[in-house]
């Protein structure tokens, strides 16, 4: 087997320019396919995440004129109380303020989350520290020093957000909104509702917008929307773009497939004599099959690995302005699995197509 592999690699080296061309084409096709499939998978995942979310209505705050200095907060404690009044206490508000401290030893980064303790069932007068904030706590980097320090409850509060979110947080009472008003940028405010719980969601969103607009409309614009429905509406164009990319990738792969099949058929015609000589020298058909398989598999695998890696990097690094802002684009292992399965299928098919011609011919005919 060692000899068969060595010889196959020797043959690949001999035909290195054709091999490199094929590897390049496979890599290009695979990268485009993986990139587009990852975008598609991320969009699907986002859609599924929103579908599964209980809080399906959200508040969006944007700055009216970015050139002007905003001298008032976009949402105050008074506003929160008013929202609770409008929605019958069904507003879930989190104010997520990024914290960054530096001392002589290290830098510490976490989120200070202001939340309504009554809703989360937390003890007043305490601050709650997540698992990943231990170092900051030990170094005394406490943004809310007046409160008693508690560990984040293990079960807390998974109903609203994932546990990994809370691990990086220090939670403090919502009342701190007044104290920290200057630090609360519009992007830090997350107000959400479960529309099913609201007595009249269609009317309330207008009321909320109207109230906030009246209070802070000089500097900010407020919009209550349904993220899931909006994503579905806005993602049509995105889906078309992804589909175009996906088809381009598949087309390149199809060209590669026809190319590799033709090239190996031609190579086989040219090397038929060589295979015949090897059979005359005592190679078994199995060894020749292994040789052909190794050659094709090495080429396909190299193309697939490069393509998947390039597609993966592009997924995280390339902003092709296809996705709607806010959707986290991630690599999908299922996509990589499909890419490697396609590589295996192409390998098996091409090996089979080439080998059948060898197996059906007589050794002496191949030599001649």
């Amino acid at each position: 087997m060692e000899y068969v592999i060595r010889k196959a690699i020797r043959m690949l080296y001999w035909n290195r320019w054709i091999s490199l061309l094929m590897v390049g084409e496979m890599a290009l096709g695979m990268s485009v396919f993986v990139y587009s499939a990852n975008l598609s998978a991320s969009l699907k995942a986002e859609e599924m995440r929103l579908e599964g979310q209980r809080m399906d209505m959200a508040l969006e705050i944007s700055v009216k004129n970015v050139q002007e200095v905003q001298d008032e907060p976009s949402l105050t404690l008074k506003d929160y109380r008013k929202l609770q009044e409008i929605t019958g206490g069904k507003t879930f508000l989190l104010v997520d303020i990024p914290q960054f401290f530096v001392d002589a030893k290290a830098s510490y980064e976490f989120s200070l989350v202001l939340a309504d303790y009554a809703i989360l069932d937390l003890e007043e007068g305490c601050s709650y520290w997540g698992a990943e904030t231990e170092e900051a706590l030990a170094a005394g980097m406490n943004p809310v020093p007046g409160l008693r320090i508690r560990r984040m409850p293990k079960q807390f509060p998974g109903e609203y957000l994932e546990k990994s979110y809370w691990d990086h947080c220090v939670v403090a009472p919502i009342a701190y909104m007044e104290e920290m008003a200057g630090e609360i940028a519009p992007g830090f405010v997350h107000a959400v509702w479960d529309s099913a719980e609201l007595p009249d969601a269609g009317r309330m969103d207008g009321q909320i917008e109207e109230y906030l607009q009246r209070e802070h409309g000089g500097q900010y614009v407020y919009r209550v929307y349904l993220p899931e429905a909006e994503l579905k509406n806005n993602s049509e164009k995105v889906k078309v773009s992804i589909r175009v990319l996906n088809h381009a990738g598949i087309l390149i792969l199809a060209v590669f497939f026809v190319g590799i099949l033709s090239i190996f058929q031609l190579l086989f015609e040219r090397r038929k004599g060589g295979y015949g000589v090897c059979l005359a020298c005592g190679a078994s058909h199995k060894q020749i099959l292994a040789e052909i398989f190794t050659e094709i598999a090495v080429m396909n695998l190299a193309g697939t690995v490069l393509g998947v890696a390039a597609g993966w990097i592009a997924t995280y690094a390339l902003d092709a302005r296809i996705m709607i802002g806010g959707i986290k684009v991630r690599g999908s292992f299922a996509v990589a699995g499909i890419a490697f399965a396609a590589c295996a299928a192409v390998t098996v098919f091409v090996v089979f197509a080439v080998y059948v011609r060898l197996a059906e011919g007589k050794i002496v005919e191949q030599i001649q």
Partner: protein
């Protein structure tokens, strides 16, 4: 070693049967240097191909070391070709993608010999043949004579019992033909059985026995004079080999 009885070979094309071998009876013993002599199209190469297990007979029996060739599987045939046989062809048939050393290593590789062992054995052969300088050369960088000597080195790399040579000097000039034939003769003297096909009487003289094939049949065997036959060769042949 080789025993053929009423050996027949036919090719079928477009519903027409073409009989190439029409009942060949032949016995070749260990250590012989047999020249199968005949004109083009006489069936001599077909006979060699069947004896070398590169094709199957369509009639009669072929026994190799007592084994009936018909009962051998493809895998067994491959193993026998690898361990017991070596082949030399008219057009050398070296693999163009491999250099001289790698070409010699081909049968050793398929025999499962380790890399070091393969290289050692191939280098030893290159040394014995005085062709060390060709080690890294590809076929495009070698003369016909050099290619054929590399092909012979490849054929004997696994120390086979029988060497089959199909018109080994067919593409060579007189001087290179002499070198190649002397090489085959030397191998035979060292105990290797050589079965060679030729249409050249001057080449056939190197054998210890000449078998004359005509129209798919053996018409003369043994130490027969070819004088006055196909090519009016003036040389008498004996079992001692050298005239």
């Amino acid at each position: 070693m080789i025993l053929c009885k009423d050996l027949e070979k036919s090719y079928f094309g477009k519903g027409v049967e073409t009989k190439v071998l029409k009942g060949v009876d032949l016995r070749i013993d260990r250590g012989e240097f047999v020249c199968i002599y005949g004109k083009s199209g006489s069936g001599k190469s077909t006979l060699l191909i069947i004896l070398g297990l590169l094709d199957e007979e369509t009639g009669g029996t072929y026994r190799l070391d007592g084994m009936d060739a018909r009962h051998l599987s493809k895998k067994e045939c491959a193993r026998i070709r690898n361990r017991k046989m070596g082949f030399v062809f008219q057009s050398y048939h070296l693999i163009p993608e491999l250099n001289a050393l790698e070409n010699i290593m081909v049968p050793l590789g398929y025999a499962g010999k380790k890399s070091k062992e393969r290289k050692k054995a191939a280098r030893r052969l290159l040394g014995e043949f005085g062709m060390e300088r060709l080690e890294k050369k590809y076929i495009s960088q070698m003369s016909g004579g050099e290619q054929q000597r590399i092909a012979i080195a490849r054929a004997i790399a696994n120390a086979p019992e029988i060497l089959f040579a199909d018109e080994p000097t067919g593409n060579l000039d007189q001087e290179n033909s002499r070198v190649v034939m002397e090489l085959l003769q030397k191998l035979n003297r060292n105990g290797m059985t050589v079965v060679m096909v030729t249409h050249d009487t001057a080449i056939a003289k190197y054998g210890t026995r000449v078998i004359h094939v005509e129209d798919g049949k053996i018409v003369e065997k043994g130490d027969v004079p070819l004088s006055g036959r196909a090519d009016s060769c003036p040389i008498m042949y004996t079992h001692s080999g050298i005239p």
